[in-house]
């Protein structure tokens, strides 16, 4: 994942569905402050909501760290969701649409990946899961990575 960290913005606990509201509001404010357009803000907030809910429901709670990152002229927001839950045995499968171990639509991880510019998943069964996503405010017309 590219970009250098220009500052840690916040760490937020994810322990209840009320925390999801705070996470969404924080990400919205931070993205707006970095100059994200309305559509990109909405995409990132939605991705954060999906990932935070995963952390809560499957990871048994955890936290989100938000960082302001920079890559040349681009301003970005990097969000890291971490939990010490059961972990994901088969990350590739977890990222495919329709896969779910809970009651949802199974769009959480795969859907969130399509809403951000960079996505990485690191999970160890029995230890926990960390998902890191980054989106950039200055999205130049250069083609971004096409999700499969």
């Amino acid at each position: 994942m590219s970009g250098t960290v220009a500052g840690v913005e916040a760490r937020m606990p994810i322990r209840s569905d009320l925390d999801l509201v705070w996470v969404r509001q924080h990400v919205r404010r931070a993205a707006a402050a970095l100059g994200f357009g309305l559509v990109d803000q909405t995409k990132l907030v939605t991705a954060a909501s999906e990932l935070a809910r995963n952390t809560l429901v499957y990871g048994g709670g955890g936290e989100m760290a938000a960082e302001h990152v920079r890559d040349g002229r681009a301003q970005g927001l990097r969000l890291t969701f971490s939990d010490r839950g059961p972990g994901i045995a088969d990350p590739e499968r977890a990222l495919s649409d329709g896969y779910t171990s809970g009651g949802g639509l199974g769009l959480g991880l795969g859907g969130a990946r399509r809403l951000v510019h960079d996505f990485s998943l690191d999970s160890t069964p029995g230890v926990g899961t960390t998902v890191t996503v980054t989106s950039w405010a200055v999205r130049s017309p250069r083609q971004r990575e096409e999700p499969r």
Partner: protein, 299 residues
């Protein structure tokens, strides 16, 4: 860096310069406020210029203390990058080139160096020379940081203009009360599709349009990616409560779509923009009556 004899008292040129910057912060800021760079950027009040100068001195002191005087990515510089960006942008509005701004930044060096010499009367000539060199390197790095900032500002401007150009080449036309259309001309890549989708959806809201027509007559090639973008646009329009019609699918494109195995089954398609308009009008409850014989053929 060669160890110096006077370094016995545990001072290095870097720490000396750092201490100097802290000690003389106010004087340096005051002098800088009178230099062209600060004078022209902060026109409202001199206090503002002095305050900006103080912030910059603090940043340089921080860089000197960490010893990374030649590193444009040093933490101290990061802290003032935003301020520098603002200053550069302000000078650029006056029509100054990056080079000219850089020269103005260099104008900040002599006052600082003069103050340094006055601040270290006890120092041996060698130590003073080393400190001066170090300060000069530090100011040179600042100049690089500013240059970097102004170049990236230039790139950002180009990006913005490219985006504006894309928006300009994606006009949304109101064809009828409740019917909007985008005639797409040229290659449809990801970035452009995004702009098309956003502008079309905005106009659906603005016009409260029940029908949105995407005319792809002028799109030279439809590959699976383009088709995917079309489907996404159709789906988004539907979610907003309007209906999307794709028109202008030439025979060659129809074949490609079939070859790619793409299912456009749920998408309403028409061969021409006129047919799409007729479809939408009919759905809106309007009747089209051709009064003159011959009809509306291609001119």
């Amino acid at each position: 860096m060669p160890e110096h004899e006077t370094a016995a008292e545990q001072t290095t040129p870097a720490s000396d310069v750092g201490r100097f910057l802290h000690r003389r912060r106010e004087q340096i800021a005051q002098r800088w406020a009178d230099e062209p760079l600060f004078r022209t950027v902060f026109t409202v009040s001199r206090d503002e210029a002095v305050e900006a100068g103080r912030v910059l001195v603090d940043a340089l002191a921080q860089v000197a203390e960490t010893g990374r005087v030649a590193d444009t990515d040093a933490a101290g510089f990061t802290a003032v990058r935003e301020q520098l960006t603002g200053m550069v942008a302000s000078r650029a509005r006056f029509g100054l080139t990056s080079g000219q701004v850089s020269t103005e930044v260099d104008g900040l060096r002599p006052p600082a160096v003069t103050l340094l010499a006055a601040d270290l009367p006890e120092a041996t000539p060698e130590h003073l020379r080393e400190c001066t060199t170090l300060l000069t390197v530090l100011m040179g790095t600042l100049r690089l940081v500013v240059l970097e900032t102004s170049l990236s500002e230039g790139q950002a401007l180009i990006d913005r203009q490219q985006l504006e150009l894309m928006e300009a080449t994606t006009p949304v036309i109101r064809l009828w009360d409740g019917i909007v259309a985008v005639p797409l001309i040229g290659t449809l890549d990801s970035a452009r599709s995004q702009v098309v989708m956003e502008t079309l959806l905005e106009s659906v809201v603005d016009q409260q349009a029940r029908f949105a027509i995407l005319d792809i007559t002028g799109v030279p090639m439809v590959d699976s990616l383009v088709a995917q973008h079309l489907m996404k646009t159709v789906a988004a329009v539907r979610l907003m409560g309007a209906e999307c019609v794709v028109s202008g699918i030439r025979p060659a494109i129809a074949q490609t779509i079939v070859h790619l195995g793409l299912d456009l089954g749920t998408v309403v398609t028409r061969s021409s923009l006129a047919d799409a308009l007729a479809y939408a009008l009919k759905r809106l409850g309007a009747d089209i009556v051709i009064a003159a014989p011959g009809g509306a053929g291609p001119r």
